[in-house]
């Protein structure tokens, strides 16, 4: 692999990201701009930005790696990532936009008017963001290490440095443009190599699937997961997406409820198109880089395939494209997370001033960087799956019941949040401490969503019913604001 070309690709993506961010600064004038892009963002832009933000290292590198390692079971991840947005559309998109909450803690305050619950939600948001950034940085370290031979920690530092700069420079407005740009970059960076490799194999008269042989020997490389594992994973991904803080921030930039729905539907289109390509590359990986399945480096599949199949200058060029896309993935997801993390920290610690936002940005980048440098790499898709399980057990019940059930009380919400956070946290901790044990018992702790999510819901509902006399007095006014369509019917049929 040609390291110079790879370095040029990384440098190019970094420079373009910074340039767009700095140009966004000139457009960004008021605080409204700074935080929410003044809601001037159109659905297509906004949807591209959401896609750009959402498609992280786990999607870009992790899914192909997962398909190489666990075969057909790997296909559940992209389904879950996409269908999670369907759930978000069904239950959260329009009401959340109408609530006029900018962040999850804002929502907690609007719905319940409780400072304590707001603080608990902020704390959970901060934990979730940090947990989510760390795998991105591991991905950056892996990519830089494999493609250029530089020490991996430089990748993590580079990503966090650029994110810190872009967020400080432009806030949300420029982030929207950066994210939208990065979605299309990521799509192209997987689509071009995937199509090229398929055409190349076709011209050489080779079969992309080795004549279907790679599906015969599933038992050879596949560590087949049970039914419980798949269903639990699906629960985590379906219900975890709606709790992702960096995704929810985006809904504030829609002008009204219907446009929030429209944006989400466009996101679903974009994701459906995108996920075809990691799947294709994963199948190619099973055929042409099968040894990665057992090497523990399966996440590198996408990076190594072009060199393996084509080689030479063309292979180098394709690899450089993929590396550029990978860095776009790390940059966009991390900057989205840093924006919402800094938003949460600055609103609660610095009264939401722009200066406070900037201080919070620095805090938001330094802590996960230290965490990433102090821990070792996991499988990317698995690490992200754990974060989804955590958000599904905490934020998801709060949002769903808060939006749709008038009987939810502050005590019930707090009890449910704590139950979900503690049970899911302990399960994930146990599975990290005892890593290699296989079997149904281990699945229960390594993929806990199937029992922690219902548990959190039950506790939240049960405690709320027990404290039914303490339903917030203005609940009807709040629910009306969440669900009643906007005054001016601007979307005429």
């Amino acid at each position: 692999m040609n390291t110079t070309v790879s370095m040029v690709a990384v440098a190019l993506v970094s420079i373009v990201t910074v340039v767009i961010a700095v140009n966004g600064l000139r457009l960004s004038r008021t605080t409204g701009d700074f935080y929410v892009a003044s809601r001037t963002v159109r659905p297509w832009w906004n949807a591209s930005a959401i896609g750009g933000e959402y498609l992280s290292a786990a999607s870009f590198l992790g899914i192909a790696g997962l398909i190489v390692v666990s075969g057909q079971d790997g296909l559940w991840f992209p389904i879950g990532y996409t269908a999670g947005y369907l759930m978000l559309l069904l239950f959260v998109a329009a009401p959340l936009r109408r609530s006029r909450a900018y962040t999850l803690p804002d929502f907690a305050q609007i719905r319940f008017g409780s400072r304590g619950l707001r603080r608990l939600t902020s704390f959970l948001v901060i934990v979730i963001c940090w947990l989510y950034i760390v795998p991105q940085l591991h991905g950056a370290a892996l990519t830089l290490g494999i493609s250029t031979g530089l020490p991996g920690w430089m990748g993590a530092v580079l990503v966090m440095g650029i994110v810190c700069m872009t967020v400080l420079a432009g806030g949300m407005r420029s982030i929207t443009f950066v994210q939208a740009f990065q979605f299309w970059l990521k799509l192209a960076a997987l689509a071009i190599p995937a199509v090229f490799l398929l055409l190349h194999l076709d011209m050489q008269g080779q079969s992309a699937t080795l004549g279907g042989a790679i599906f015969d020997d599933e038992a050879q490389t596949t560590t087949a997961k049970g039914l419980y594992y798949n269903i639990s994973l699906l629960v985590a991904l379906l219900f975890g997406t709606m709790g992702l803080p960096h995704v929810l921030v985006r809904f504030y930039t829609n002008p009204d409820g219907p446009s929030a729905r429209k944006t989400t539907a466009i996101v679903l289109c974009l994701l459906s198109i995108f996920y075809l390509f990691p799947t294709v590359l994963g199948i190619l990986g099973r055929a042409y880089t099968p040894e990665l399945a057992t090497s523990g480096n399966a996440d590198a599949t996408v990076l190594l395939l072009p060199g393996r199949i084509v080689g030479g200058t063309v292979g180098d060029a394709l690899t450089a494209i993929i590396i550029g896309g990978a860095f776009a993935a790390f940059l966009s997801t991390s900057s989205g997370l840093v924006v919402s993390l800094a938003g949460a920290i600055s609103q609660d610690l610095f009264q939401g001033t722009v200066r406070g936002f900037r201080i919070a940005t620095v805090i938001a980048t330094v802590v996960p960087l230290l965490l990433a440098l102090g821990t070792s790499t996991f499988a990317l898709a698995g690490a992200i799956g754990s974060v989804f399980a955590f958000t599904a057990s905490t934020i998801c019940p709060l949002l769903l019941l808060g939006i749709w059930w008038r009987g939810l009380t502050v005590v019930g919400a707090v009890a449910g949040l704590l139950t979900g956070a503690v049970s899911c946290g302990i399960a994930l901790f146990v599975s990290a401490v005892i890593p290699s044990a296989t079997g149904s018992l281990h699945d229960l702790v390594s993929q806990p969503a199937a029992w922690t999510v219902p548990l959190a819901f039950l506790v939240m509902i049960g405690v709320s019913l027990a404290t039914a006399d303490r339903v917030p007095a203005r609940v009807d006014a709040v629910l009306a604001r969440l669900h009643v369509p906007e005054q001016s019917p601007d979307s005429k049929p």
């Binding site: 296909l75 389904i79 269908a83 599906f215 996920y275 009264q351 009807d476 006014a477």
Partner: protein, 143 residues
């Protein structure tokens, strides 16, 4: 706005300007003439203005809107979830399905890797239309 207070000798001129401004831009916040300390859009917007007299009929319509929207969301979600669980169960209880191949790729791969996505998009499309229809119905009743 400061002109009215600063120039008392000329009572005729200055007051007319703010008056016309107020009339024209009644809906807009007053223009800021000096540096303003900007802060997050949280603050005042988080406080919901109290309704003066909660109208019983209005509250009823809002509740039935919420109920119909929830019923819609739940049925789309349940339908889609049943589909996914069905796929998972078929895959694990009927291993022979892997022998059915299209272009050397087993049928479950096609179903999970490709066919699921159009179904997600169809669900989203139908939901958006039905949700907008519910809201239009509510608006036609209330307005």
């Amino acid at each position: 706005m400061s002109g009215a207070a600063a120039d008392p000798p000329e009572p005729a001129g200055p007051p007319s300007i703010p008056a016309s401004l107020d009339a024209g831009d009644a809906a807009l916040p007053p223009p800021a003439a000096h540096r303003v300390r900007v802060s997050a859009p949280a603050g005042s917007m988080l406080n919901i203005p109290r309704r003066l007299e909660p109208d019983a009929a209005d509250a009823f319509y809002v509740r039935s809107l919420i109920r119909s929207q929830l019923r819609l969301s739940m049925s789309v979600a349940l339908g889609f979830l049943l589909l996914l669980v069905g796929l998972a169960v078929i895959g694990s209880t009927w291993p022979q399905i892997h022998e059915i191949r299209l272009a050397t790729i087993p049928l479950p791969w096609w179903l999970l890797g490709v066919a699921v996505y159009p179904m997600i998009l169809l669900s989203a499309f139908l939901f958006n239309r039905a949700a907008a229809r519910n809201e239009a119905k509510y608006r036609s009743i209330v307005e």
